[in-house]
């Protein structure tokens, strides 16, 4: 820091080259250490069962797709004689499994769980963003009595501990036959996401100058036409960013999913920890599932980079 004061070569507030180098080194070191666990998981997905539980932990290993095959299949152990009598394996994954004296008995439940995650994620995101856009527009453009209290009410519903919310929801869904249904989960996630959507989108719509709409109204558009043809096209980036935040929430949510679903509507997060092989967790398969589950999030994070700050502070802090 002292270097900043003495240097005259550049702007006073800009850090000196040495200060920058020190800062860069520490930050990069932190970034590398903090990303290591993720890299380890991604690598474990390509390990064989024995490499995954080797001591000392293996950094260099022979990569294999066993973990991914195990994730997508259910296998049974057979005697070598039995396997020798079978017709020759036709696919690479059949061959891989037979090397371990196993035979593929069928597909595992991972695909239906993945589809559940997708349906519930996109369904609740679509609903939350649609409702949120309308409400945000109204809060941004019209004078609504007790608007601040209503906005607080909307946000406060998101602050509730999920386990506490799940108790009455469980009872209510039991009465309505909504336990363990996708519809039930979509409605619940919509309710949680809509609060974020309203707050975020209100911020985005507030930034669109009123004059555009007013000009449209003067030209004879109705309010709804003005909303559709003037405001929505301007708010498209904001709506997209909001949608991604809602999608990430539904995708990642665990507490409601584990308490309110058991099979039919179960999503990935409660499913992943229960991927087991012979004798305990099948780590390469768990790592494979985790990798597949996390990759979209990583891509979305990079995509969202500019709006991340807004999203995590309910639109209060902007750059």
């Amino acid at each position: 820091m002292t270097a900043i004061a003495r240097s005259t070569a550049h702007s006073i507030v800009e850090a000196s080259p040495r200060a920058k180098a020190v800062a860069g080194t520490i930050v990069i070191l932190y970034a590398v250490i903090s990303i290591l666990p993720l890299l380890w998981i991604a690598a474990t997905a390509f390990k064989s069962q024995s490499d995954a539980i080797a001591y000392p932990p293996k950094v260099i290993f022979q990569p294999t797709l066993e973990g991914y095959v195990n994730l997508f299949t259910v296998r049974t152990r057979q005697t070598p004689d039995f396997i020798a009598k079978l017709p020759p394996a036709t696919t690479w994954y059949d061959r891989l499994v037979r090397q371990h004296d196993m035979v593929i008995a069928g597909p595992s439940k991972v695909v239906p769980r993945f589809i559940n995650s997708l349906i519930i994620g996109f369904g609740s995101t679509f609903l939350a963003v649609s409702l949120g856009t309308l409400a945000a527009y109204a809060f941004s453009r019209f004078r609504i009595p007790l608007a601040d209290d209503l906005l607080f009410f909307i946000l406060s519903t998101r602050m509730m501990p999920p386990v506490a919310v799940a108790i009455p929801i469980y009872l209510m869904y039991r009465q309505l036959n909504l336990t363990d249904t996708r519809l039930g989960m979509i409605l619940l996630y919509t309710a949680v996401n809509v609060s974020l959507a309203v707050w975020l989108l209100k911020g985005f719509i507030d930034e669109i100058p009123r004059e555009y709409e007013e000009a449209a109204l003067v030209d004879g558009y109705t309010r709804l036409q003005a909303l559709r043809k003037v405001v929505l096209p301007q708010a498209v980036t904001g709506i997209a960013a909001t949608a991604i935040f809602c999608l990430i929430f539904s995708w990642n949510e665990y507490a409601f999913a584990v308490l309110l679903t058991s099979g039919e509507a179960q999503t990935m997060p409660p499913f992943i920890p229960f991927i087991i092989g012979e004798g305990g967790q099948d780590w390469p398969a768990v790592a494979a599932a985790t990798t597949l589950f996390v990759v979209p999030i990583v891509l979305f994070t990079i995509l969202l980079r500019k709006h991340l700050l807004r999203g995590i502070t309910f639109g209060a802090v902007r750059k």
Partner: protein, 321 residues
């Protein structure tokens, strides 16, 4: 009609509505007031159905002795018994203390790490934006999945964490278990939570640092204020509202923490990491003591609601900046 007058504005002025304005509205579709309510109503109704109605139902249940594993028993009202049971139960107070320790330690660590990183990144070295994105990744992940894969990293024999520690500290890697030891487990959940959420504090602090206009530092330079003095008199006070926001949000989130800890230690060993949310889950969904757990849930609600109130005030204060 060439100027746009909002109906409420016209009403607020107390003047008579312009003649023929109703006809104009009809010609243009719905009135603004109708549109406003039409747009807000679906959101409010959904929240009433999914949040408020169940909440009221739960308040009613909290005065009963309902146990779902014995639901054949008639619903018996017990008044405030559940509440007095909870508030006089040492177990619950221990869980609350465990939760408080977890919240305080993890938030404090996140503030130190997050604010430190923000100060360093704010020096704007080359490639800082790329590394910032890398650092942000953990906080976007599913806490449950994070809890689950850290159990692999913390395996005493095969996990890389213990192996690395053994290389540095020179103790055998199977001599300690991060998730299985009473002395270590509370720190383990703090460590993983910090790994995940220090980036959150960092991102908000970074926004705070960038909101400080350059000319203030330039003026301080002219006055020959030392860098130390600049930090305490400019940087810190001007970042504090942002920091407060991050602290409040993290405190609320960690107070209701369930997913990550449930998968990492599931409250163990014994009950050393049993946060109050885990206790609530066990009472409600394992022992099926619905009346009792409803009362506990309401106590937690009230606490979070109070904190949320302060949070929103802080949000609005930051917004005005």
């Amino acid at each position: 009609m060439t100027t746009i007058i909002h109906p409420d504005q016209a009403a607020a002025r107390g003047g008579p509505k312009p003649a023929g304005s109703l006809a104009v509205w009809r010609g243009r579709g719905l009135s603004d007031r109708a549109i406003a309510w039409l747009f807000v109503a679906p959101t409010i109704m959904l929240l009433l159905a999914i949040n408020i109605f169940p909440l009221i139902w739960m308040i009613r249940l909290s005065f009963t002795s309902l146990n779902l594993s014995m639901s054949y028993l008639p619903l018996r009202f017990v008044g405030l018994d559940n509440f007095s049971d909870i508030l006089t139960d040492d177990e619950i107070w221990f869980r609350l203390q465990t939760t408080a320790r977890f919240v305080i330690c993890s938030v404090a660590l996140q503030v130190i790490v997050g604010f430190g990183l923000a100060l360093l990144i704010n020096r704007q070295f080359r490639t800082h934006s790329f590394w910032t994105t890398i650092i942000l990744l953990p906080m976007m992940l599913s806490p449950a999945v994070v809890g689950n894969f850290w159990t692999l990293l913390f395996q005493p024999q095969i996990g890389p964490f213990n192996y690395l520690v053994s290389l540095i500290a020179g103790v055998p890697p199977s001599s300690f278990s991060m998730t299985g030891e009473v002395a270590l487990a509370p720190w383990t959940i703090v460590l993983v939570d910090t790994w995940m959420w220090a980036p959150y504090v960092m991102l908000i602090c970074l926004a705070g640092l960038r909101s400080i206009p350059d000319y203030i530092y330039e003026a301080a330079e002219v006055d020959r204020a030392s860098p130390w003095r600049q930090f305490w008199s400019i940087t810190l006070p001007m970042t504090v509202p942002f920091l407060m926001l991050a602290v409040l949000f993290r405190a609320i989130e960690n107070f209701k923490m369930f997913d990550m800890v449930n998968l990492l230690t599931s409250g163990g060993p014994g009950s050393t990491t049993e946060l109050v949310s885990i206790t609530l889950k066990r009472a409600a969904f394992e022992k099926w003591r619905t009346g009792y757990s409803s009362a506990l849930a309401i106590i937690l609600f009230v606490t979070v609601f109070g904190a949320a109130n302060i949070y929103v005030k802080a949000l609005n204060r930051v917004k005005q900046r």
